[in-house]
């Protein structure tokens, strides 16, 4: 059979039909946007037990392999932590002052009060990190039927994790703050400078994100804490995002940027909480 014969054969027509069908499915899937389409829902439902099992097994295997393969790294980390411990012991003298300062900062942020007004979901299990995704996006085991809504902020005790960007009845996909697709209004606690947290693949590879549109004369420095600004009504005010690790001037403009290390270790997440409702939700800055 030569190639001409193949193009005239029934096989080629079947191939074209299959490709047309798949293209249709893909376009339908893309058109559905954030709401998971029916095909994907069916596939998710069918594959749910496999994914649960794969998640459990890979977690267990990774944990065991990690002990052996990362032994050297752990030894180094242990030595570093010992040094850090010694330094911290030196600093214990100022411990009481630090406690007072921390309480003052907490009051300033009003996190406790804000959380009292918030409606939180049940703890959601991190089911499946997306394969070959640099930004650490993942799926959680709760969805539309558990009250999760689109664009709801996802948090854990350490800080902001990301946003729900795709919903299906029993699952939701969370895009993390490392992703360039996500923009979060943020403010630097120490200086009051505001900007936008928007991921950059260059930094996402190291588990860091970027704060852009900082003023040219901003005095932001490393170790400053970045929190949510709460001006868009999408996120509550005062939720920790991360600490500044470096600053610089954008090559394309005069604005400054800061590289931010999230307060949450996104690679070690087991459970997260979705913020279903909070004070100021849906109120943008101008409407307040």
């Amino acid at each position: 059979m030569n190639l001409n014969a193949f193009f005239r054969s029934a096989k080629f027509r079947v191939l074209l039909c299959v490709l047309a069908l798949l293209t249709g499915i893909m376009l339908y899937s893309i058109r559905s946007g954030a709401q998971t389409d029916r095909f994907t829902r069916v596939l998710h439902a069918v594959t749910a037990p496999f994914r649960h099992a794969a998640s459990a097994i890979s977690g267990e295997v990774n944990e065991r392999l990690d002990t052996y393969y990362e032994a050297k790294a752990y030894r180094e980390e242990n030595a570093r932590l010992r040094e850090q411990n010694a330094i911290l012991n030196q600093q214990l003298i100022g411990y009481d002052d630090a406690i007072h300062e921390r309480d003052a900062l907490r009051d300033q942020l009003g996190i406790k009060e804000k959380l009292a007004d918030s409606v939180l979901s049940e703890p959601c299990k991190v089911l499946m990190p997306l394969t070959n995704d640099m930004t650490g996006s993942f799926q959680i085991d709760m969805g539309e039927e558990d009250g999760i809504t689109l664009n709801a902020p996802v948090i854990c005790s350490a800080g902001l994790v990301g946003v729900v960007t795709e919903l299906s009845p029993h699952y939701a996909t969370v895009t993390t703050i490392l992703s360039p697709e996500l923009s979060v209004g943020a403010v630097v606690l120490e200086t009051g400078d505001s900007g936008i947290i928007e991921g950059d693949l260059k930094y996402a590879a190291d588990g860091r994100t970027k704060m852009i549109y900082l003023d040219e004369d901003s005095t932001v420095k490393p170790h400053d804490l970045v929190i949510t600004a709460g001006t868009t009504g999408l996120f509550p005010y005062g939720w920790p995002i991360g600490n500044v690790t470096e600053t610089g001037i954008e090559s394309t403009s005069l604005a400054q940027y800061a590289v931010v290390e999230p307060t949450v270790d996104l690679s070690e997440l087991d459970t997260v909480t979705v913020l279903l409702d909070f004070k100021g939700k849906g109120e943008s800055f101008g409407e307040k």
Binding site: L22, T23, S29, H44, A54, S58, T131, N132, T173
Partner: protein, 195 residues
């Protein structure tokens, strides 16, 4: 002129050998599907992973008929779509085309050998990474896209090519034990030479 309502010839009962071949083909194809699903299983672990279903689908394409290759491409592609969070069908289209092309190559030009399989798997894996890079980063001028290529897509393609070895070893018993003695390429050659 022949009448349209001619009686069909009575169906001849299959010989024992034919029945055995059909049974073997069915078992082989069922096991192939199970193996490709098993290859999809580790891809759900997240992080940087080889895309195991690519070598599995290519390996199936090396030994099976074209319709089954397309089916393997669809299953493998959907597996990648689910694991990587891509729009459903995107990788399936790519893998169906790859599998059909590989099947044609092995039917028409190439001898069935491990090295050919390895090269074709590597080509498919790197080409996929290139397409993902093009459609997800280059067209949208995403900042830091070179990091995506260097740290994620390139290693993933390299691991996928490397994964061809264990996948081949998994599929080897299937093709050895359950394939008829006269393979499709040889039968095509016989057909070409003697017809």
């Amino acid at each position: 002129m022949k009448s349209k309502r001619q009686k069909k010839p009575a169906r001849q009962s299959r010989t024992r050998s034919e029945r055995r071949t059909i049974r073997r083909n069915f078992i082989r194809k069922a096991l192939s599907i199970i193996l490709i699903l098993l290859c999809w299983f580790p891809m759900l672990g997240g992080g940087m992973q080889p895309l195991w279903t690519i070598p599995a689908a290519i390996c199936i394409s090396m030994n099976e008929d074209m319709y089954f290759c397309m089916a393997a491409g669809v299953i493998g592609g959907f597996g990648i779509d689910i694991a990587c969070g891509n729009p459903l069908g995107a990788n399936a289209i790519y893998l169906v085309i790859c599998c059909t092309f590989v099947c044609l190559l092995f039917e028409q030009i190439l001898r069935r050998s491990f090295w050919h399989y390895l090269v074709l798997t590597a080509v498919c894996a790197f080409l996929r990474s290139g397409l993902v890079y093009l459609f997800s980063s280059v067209l949208f001028r995403v900042s830091g896209r070179e990091v995506l290529w260097q740290r994620m897509l390139l290693p993933s393609a390299a691991w996928t090519a490397a994964a061809a070895v264990p996948v081949y070893l998994c599929f080897l018993p299937l093709s050895r034990l359950l394939t008829s003695r006269v393979r499709s390429m040889d039968s095509a050659a016989i057909h070409r030479d003697f017809s």
